[in-house]
């Protein structure tokens, strides 16, 4: 089964003449790990919004795990996102006032499916993941806002992966890390997504990070609307 299939997708923001995205075809196999790069303003965030189902295209199909999410009601789309997609953002990923471990458990409060897939005791699973991601036990119950950026990103990774979602979407998750830690984090992410069997879409403007992925794709190669890269 394909994790993602986009067909003839057209998206235009309200009150704008030009299309923001125009993707005739794009596919992602189950468990495949893709590096998607594009300049700022090329429509990366818009594409992620469409994949997450918080925006709806004017035309075309977005099939996630065989379901065309453009045909779902907004409520069902929200549920689908919670059940099947793990998200990882740039920085300020966590609820700063919530303890780290409770941040990890958040997907399980919004999705019964993720809770079930996290095992009999989601909290034990969260602890296992934090330990696996090398986060010190003393930091588990600290409010997430008190952790370092690197620690926060590892907590965010655990949160995106808990309950074994089929698709993991990472939006510039390394932009706040220094070069050395960037590669360590990406390796960690590749390893973990492989462990839970999730397909990974890693979005970044920094092409140097593309090294370890199965495939590297430029947004302007798949989207007719995206402007040419200025380099």
């Amino acid at each position: 089964m394909t994790a993602l299939r986009i067909t003839n997708l057209v998206f235009r923001w309200p009150r704008q003449a030009a299309s923001c995205l125009d993707i005739p075809r794009f596919e992602l196999a189950a468990g495949e790990r893709v590096f998607l790069h594009g300049a700022s303003g090329s429509g990366k965030s818009t594409l992620l919004g469409l994949l997450g189902g918080v925006a709806v295209p004017q035309a075309g199909r977005i099939e996630l795990l065989g379901t065309d999410i453009t045909r779902l009601s907004s409520r069902t789309r929200d549920r689908f996102r919670a059940d099947h997609i793990g998200f990882l953002f740039q920085q300020f990923n966590l609820l700063p006032w919530l303890p780290a471990i409770d941040n990890v458990l958040l997907p399980c409060t919004f999705s019964a499916r993720r809770r079930e897939r996290a095992g009999a005791d989601p909290r034990a699973e969260a602890e296992r993941m934090l330990r696996h991601l090398d986060l010190d036990t003393t930091n588990w119950r600290k409010p997430a806002g008190e952790l370092s950026v690197g620690q926060q990103q590892r907590v965010a990774a655990a949160r995106a992966l808990i309950g074994r979602p089929e698709i993991l979407i990472a939006d510039e998750p390394t932009s706040a890390l220094d070069a050395e830690r960037q590669q360590v984090f990406i390796d960690l992410l590749l390893q973990e997504s492989a462990a839970v069997g999730a397909a990974l879409i890693f979005v970044s403007h920094d092409q140097r990070l593309a090294g370890h992925f199965d495939r590297s794709v430029a947004l302007h190669d798949i989207s007719l609307a995206a402007p040419e890269r200025k380099e």
Binding site: S45, L48, G49, G52, V54, A55, S74, R75, D78, R79, R81, A82, D83, F87, F89, F92, N93, L94, L95, P96, W97, L98, L106, P107, T109, F110, S111, P143, R159, D171
Partner: protein, 419 residues
């Protein structure tokens, strides 16, 4: 939904300083509102409880409210009295069952002194037609004996058998009647009415005190010692007012007309209920103004709440986007913000109730002392709870604004808030 509410509570806790200040503002506003309402209700209650079973209050011709105020509540001074002959004419009228003469004008350490007949203790009714009870001692029998209200005895620490002296006039600094001391013969049980604040003596005692006085001052060189007082005729020539009970209530307007048209001197008879209604009408305007002002203060507090939540929304865009990405629906975001506002309003209202309870407990003795108003220390009544309910409902409406705004924002922002 439970999970969303739990997150809302935790999120609110993380911003406890800002929200706490808003909460305190709401609490103080609610306290003010409830205090005004409680004072209003309790003042009415106090006045209404003060006199029971009296068909007519009779005094010199004046305003009916003024007559009630000095005759029943012992507040303010009478401008004129009524002659003993007029009183006898009324008291012996065939329609009259009983009449109690009242002579006011002296005081004891700020508490009013009432000269009356010994029948007062048997006939006077307050509250739900309750008779006066003695906590200690008995009614006065001799001329220089006094019966104290419970508050007088409690505040000044008197017991039966103690000796007290009276002052002329109502202030604490009036010239003294120090030459003629009184023995405390009895102390009344508490009634929650002006009786508690009154020193009761016989009419003869009032006459005796003023034997050697003319026109409000002692006559120089004239001293009539206590032991010689009995030689004088102590029949009073004038009293301040009278309480009248009729054989049949149906005669009340006929009797009122008889008094008002009395030829001997200009008199006024009022029905206590009617006079109290007139009093309420006089102060209703002020009450409404006070209630309106305090309601406005509550509205200001709630507007502050809405403003605080709206102002905080920009900083929380990221938080809301994260929740959206994790599967929260726009409805959940709306619920979170609205719940936060309702939570703060409810907590503020409850804190306001606590402050009211503490505050009324502290203010009650002072109010009783200065205004004769009995402020109840009790659980909030139905109308107070209705006011609290109205405040919370208004808080809910105020919270819908930030809730709606967050809902719109989370729809527009999607997963990547524009910061």
């Amino acid at each position: 939904m439970k999970a969303v509410l739990r997150l809302a509570a935790l999120s609110a806790w993380s911003r406890r300083l800002t929200l706490g200040l808003t909460l305190v503002a709401i609490a103080l506003a609610v306290t003010l509102l409830l205090a005004v309402e409680r004072l209003r209700v309790d003042a009415r209650q106090s006045f209404t409880q003060s006199v029971s079973g009296v068909d007519l209050v009779v005094g010199a011709r004046t305003g009916s409210v003024q007559l009630m105020l000095y005759a029943v509540f012992h507040a303010g001074a009478a401008s004129n009295g009524i002659s003993w002959d007029s009183y006898r004419a009324i008291a012996t009228h065939p329609a009259v069952d009983w009449a109690l003469p009242l002579a006011l004008g002296d005081s004891h350490r700020g508490f009013p002194v009432l000269g009356t007949s010994v029948d007062y203790f048997r006939l006077f009714r307050h509250g739900e037609r309750e008779a006066l009870q003695f906590a200690a001692g008995q009614p006065f029998t001799g001329t220089f004996e006094a019966v104290l209200g419970s508050e007088v005895a409690r505040r000044l620490g008197y017991r039966t058998g103690d000796t007290i002296t009276l002052n002329h006039g109502l202030g604490e600094l009036g010239p003294a009647h120090g030459d003629k001391p009184f023995r405390v013969a009895g102390i009344l049980a508490a009634t929650g009415t002006p009786v508690d604040r009154t020193v009761h003596v016989s009419l003869e005692a009032i006459s005796a005190l003023h034997l050697d006085w003319i026109g409000g001052a002692p006559v120089p060189g004239l001293v009539i010692p206590t032991e010689h007082v009995a030689k004088f005729d102590l029949q009073p020539k004038q009293i301040t007012a009278a309480l009248v009970g009729l054989k049949q209530r149906g005669d009340v307007f006929r009797m009122q007309r008889f008094v008002n048209q009395y030829r001997g001197e200009p008199l006024l008879a009022v029905l206590p209920g009617v006079a109290l209604d007139e009093l309420w009408q006089n102060i209703a305007m002020m009450e409404r103004t006070l209630l309106t002002v305090s309601a406005l203060v509550v509205l200001v507090g709630l507007a502050g709440l809405a403003a605080t939540l709206l102002a905080g929304l920009n900083e929380r865009r990221r938080e809301l986007a994260i929740l959206r990405a994790l599967g929260a629906e726009p409805g959940d975001i709306f619920l979170m913000l609205t719940a936060e506002g309702v939570l703060v309003t409810t907590a503020g209202a409850l804190l306001g109730l606590v402050l009211l309870t503490i505050g009324s407990g502290l203010a009650a003795p002072w109010l009783l002392d200065r205004l004769g108003v009995v402020l109840g220390t009790r659980w909030p009544g139905r109308e107070e709870l209705a006011l609290v309910g109205a405040v919370i409902a208004t808080g809910l409406i105020a919270s819908l604004i930030p809730g709606w705004r967050a809902w719109r924002m989370s729809l527009a922002d999607g997963l990547t808030p524009k910061l």
